[in-house]
Symmetry: C2
Subunit: 235 residues, 2 copies
């Protein structure tokens, strides 16, 4: 497996991602959008997993080179300015897609975007922007509060969702369905009963606040992602 | 592939199913619950597909040997008495499970139930009964109106659902989620945007009444079923 750190830029901000690919030949590319803590070990591991599946993956960065949170308070302080400026967030995501496409191990015509928690919202924002990517996957992403009513959505959209996620309650799932339908999206939402936020993250162990790892839900979600990416990249 | 018609009984009623298996050795068994028209070519095809996947499958019958509808009115007239007597429906379903388990090509300890439209409700009713089956899958099934509040549900439950299904509107999806959560079920619901009722049936072409085939949704649903059965029968 090839892997390396990659620096890229949005305006005057340097962003640093982690890139992994299984071989030197051009493969479909996947941008990974990090959770609120910033790009880190979890996202690096997802990039390696995707490389093992035969894809080329960039664990992107929307905070800036080396900028990471280490407590919930720090994470929230890093995330909030980008929730408050979704246009800036989209520019940083777009920079990541452009960086991904520019890697020699990536087939620039076949690109998808996935993300976790805050990164799920990021993946959905890419779709909402009408970006020319094949598909997006949100893992326990924030489903409500789009930046603006979505325009036509060309990317296929898959939301993998814990039904008891306190950060995305049933009313947000309903509004997501309405929003995506109105935008003409080819969308799916997989709801997992009894599952809460952050269910793919083995370090999530705060049941009281509705953030808890679930091995079975994580397994189902990754299998759904594999099926979805295979579909997106085959057509 | 082995296939044969199989007669079995519930009380004084003779039921006739279609059985298919890939080999003579005991494999996990799947009962298929038919749509409102009764057991027919569509269900036979599903049985063959499951046999090709390595399972042994019985396309069961809850109407009676040779009793099939040929118009929506006839179908409704056949279905309604069983919707009005869910205990009778469950006895006929249980007879199908027992018949499946009794086939020599079936590993009686590993059984699942799937169903389409009305048959989706049937599959869910099996789960609601607390039956000792590994999993149930509903394809565009009726989600609301359980016979009674579900007791503990031991089967894993997967509902594959067109979000615009007029026979199972969003409020039914929400009540299904609440019902299954209250019953302690390990449940999933996969919602497909822009998809209506009967989406797996290539003969469904009544868009005006919300019954329409979708090749892409059918493909996704069958892939989800394959993943689910593999999980259920592996554990």
């Amino acid at each position: 497996m090839n892997s390396r750190l990659v620096n890229y830029h949005e305006g005057d901000t340097t962003l640093q991602g982690f890139f992994a690919s299984a071989s030197d030949s051009a493969a479909p590319g996947v941008l990974i959008c990090h959770a609120w803590g910033g790009q880190g070990d979890f996202e690096d591991g997802i990039a390696r997993t995707l490389a093992e599946l035969g894809y080329s993956a960039l664990a992107g960065d929307v905070y800036g080179e080396g900028i990471r949170g280490s407590t919930p308070e720090e994470n929230a302080a890093l995330m909030q300015p980008l929730l408050d400026d979704r246009a800036l967030l989209l520019r940083r995501l777009t920079a990541g897609i452009d960086c991904l496409r520019a890697q020699p191990e990536v087939d620039a015509t076949r690109v998808a975007v996935i993300g976790f928690c805050f990164g799920g919202l990021c993946a959905l924002d890419v779709a909402r922007s009408g970006a020319d990517v094949g598909g997006v996957v949100s893992f326990h992403g924030l489903l409500g509060s789009p930046a603006a009513p979505s325009g036509p959505v060309s990317a296929r959209v898959l939301a993998l969702h814990g039904w008891d996620d306190p950060l995305a309650p049933p009313e947000d799932a309903l509004s997501f369905a309405s929003e995506m339908t109105a935008a003409g999206a080819d969308w799916q939402l997989h709801a997992y009963g009894g599952i809460v936020h952050a269910f793919t993250n083995p370090n999530a162990n705060d049941a009281e606040n509705g953030m808890l790892y679930s091995e079975v839900a994580a397994s189902r979600a990754f299998e759904a992602m594999r099926d979805f990416l295979a579909e997106v990249f085959t057509d």
